[in-house]
């Protein structure tokens, strides 16, 4: 598998207030690569910066610094025209709220026609119809049941499938799925998730699966990236990260997930750890909450290093540098 996307030292700082305002380093010096046909989970809690990374890759917002290379080309240098003509043909996205992704005044068919108008303007009615029908059938929908309907007449699961069908109409090389199944019920969620896997298997589409749900990330992805407050704390082969979590944050996160196969011990109420000015910490962002914190952790930012093959952690407990 060759390299498809490379993110280098990506940083996004949001500032608040006019003079003497404060900074939120939503994404802070993040680097990772994605190979062709790879499914990567970007996992984190709210405020971890996972969604910002998705938006940066999609060029929906501009980074403060850093580079994004897609097939070796600098995405940040693309003009608007290049983005539209080229980049978005190859990089598509599906977001969390399917109801917000449709115009409620139009039937859902329109979302397909917009894609045709932009990318395949010469297709005639018949060809368009055939492509739409094929795409819908592939995502497990009956075209007769959904075409000609308004968004409010369909369920969230159906709408999300339509969006995936639409994104995949272009057979993109990269699909960014930002919490794409979080709003769906358990009984329909897994099938939508399977669709992403099926497409990877069939067309080699890489998927960046942005999620807060560790169980879903574990199920679908080859590689997992765990984020905390704008930084990557741990990443690597999904099995290794989940079965041998190294970073204290990852360990705590995994212990907190209710899983049907894992028993829980009640351990009593622990105090809420004050985070304070987490973005001004020079060292590890997790230091104020970390049970194994050392003095060094507040001053020196730990860098990611490979502890075992394809398993990286940024924590002073494991040496490095």
């Amino acid at each position: 598998m060759s390299e498809l996307l490379k993110v280098e030292h990506l940083t996004k700082v949001f500032t608040s207030g006019l003079i003497g305002g404060f900074e939120i380093r939503a994404v802070d010096d993040v680097s990772f690569t994605m190979r062709r046909g790879e499914i990567v989970s970007l996992v984190g809690e709210s405020g971890s910066g996972k969604t910002t990374i998705g938006k940066l890759i999609l060029r929906l917002i501009q980074p403060t610094s850093g580079r994004i290379l897609f097939e070796g080309k600098d995405v940040l240098k693309f003009s608007r025209g290049e983005l539209r003509r080229n980049y978005y043909r190859q990089v598509q996205a599906v977001f969390q709220d399917p109801f917000a992704s449709f115009n409620p005044l139009h039937v859902v068919d329109r979302s397909f026609h917009l894609v045709f108008d932009s990318y395949f303007p010469r297709l005639d009615e018949g060809e368009r119809e055939k492509l739409i029908n094929d795409a819908l059938t592939q995502v497990g929908l009956n075209p007769d049941e959904v075409l000609g309907k308004f968004p409010h007449q369909l369920s969230g699961g159906q709408l999300q499938r339509i969006l995936i069908a639409r994104a995949l109409l272009l057979k993109p090389k990269l699909l960014i799925a930002d919490e794409a199944v979080s709003m769906l019920d358990a009984s329909t969620r897994i099938d939508v998730l399977n669709l992403l896997g099926d497409f990877r298997d069939k067309y080699g589409t890489s998927v960046l699966f942005v999620t807060h749900d560790l169980a879903l990330g574990y199920y679908i992805s080859d590689t997992t990236i765990i984020m905390y407050r704008g930084t990557i704390v741990e990443m690597g082969d999904t099995e290794r990260v989940f079965h041998n979590p190294l970073h204290p944050y990852t360990q705590m996160l995994l212990e907190s997930v209710p899983d049907l196969n894992v028993k829980w011990e009640f351990r009593g109420i622990e105090p809420e750890k004050e985070e304070g000015a987490v973005y001004s910490i020079q060292g590890c962002r997790y230091a104020p909450r970390c049970p194994r914190v050392k003095e060094k952790c507040f001053n020196v930012r730990p860098v990611l290093h490979e502890v075992e093959r394809n398993h990286w952690v940024a924590c002073h407990l494991y040496g490095g540098e």
């Binding site: 369920s155 329909t188 969620r189 897994i190 560790l214 169980a215 999904t238 209710p258 196969n261």
Partner: protein, 323 residues
Amino acid sequence: MAMLTVEDLKIYYATPFGHVKAVDGVSFEVREGEVFGIAGESGCGKSTLVHSLILRKPPMVHMGGKALFKGRDLMRLSKEESRKIRYTELSIIPQYAMNALNPTKKIKDIVWDLAREHGHTDREEVERLLRERLKMVKLSEKVADMYPVELSGGMRQRATMVVSTLLNPDLLIADEVTSALDVTTQRVVIELLHHFMREGIVKSIIFVTHDLALLDKIADRMMILYAGKVVEIGPTEEVINEPSHPYTQLLLSSLPRMGIQYRKQKLRGIPGYPISLLNPPKGCRFYTRCPYALDKCPSEEPKLVKVGEEHYAACHLLGGEDQ
């Protein structure tokens, strides 16, 4: 001993197209000293059910059945009576608990308003209790003098839970309290509820969620709803490990768990979508999605059948005509 006994409860929503039968003949009991879980997907009626116990307002209509709480029928209480028992006997933590506190009042003033309304006269006494409880949930006593906006999300969550349990309600209803939370905060909430029970601050909890894995950790008994009907009810461990109703079985087998990866073993969801509650079928409401549906399923309603000690499921496959 039963704290709450719900019998054949029917709660509909009045719409211009007719009644939406959101809760349609539901019966169960919540015992003293237990955490009772109610699970189901969106539209199954779980939220309607618990909210109808506290406050019914249009378009919600009570169409029949009883909800006996410590001997009184909650469906027949006057506004004044239900206001009186709220917080002192029956309390609810709403879904967006973090934002449920009045932002213009200090925590101690919110609490005092509440206590005064329920006949407390000693302000110092109430504040002392508040500070004690804040300490119990590992918050600083100073939180009492703060406004909700001064608290971080996690702290506000704890404070809200202290407020809703301050007057020691016998029955605490937690409606999807953890769904919008990060897993680490969710874990804290579960620990808090567990602690409230152990300390006897609340006697019983109804925990409503769509997350079966979470119920597995906290509930003693649980009930699964589908399209306004009870499909299965029993001890949590049995329902999770030996589900009897096809819906419960399929739902559980669609859940991701540690050790199962797409590359090696594919999970399957349940095909199809829930039926409309405006005109539900006479028979089983799951038959449209059930892979084992029999000829009689669309027309004959399955009754709850005993499948184990205290474990019941409503499915024709389980036989039992007259339970």
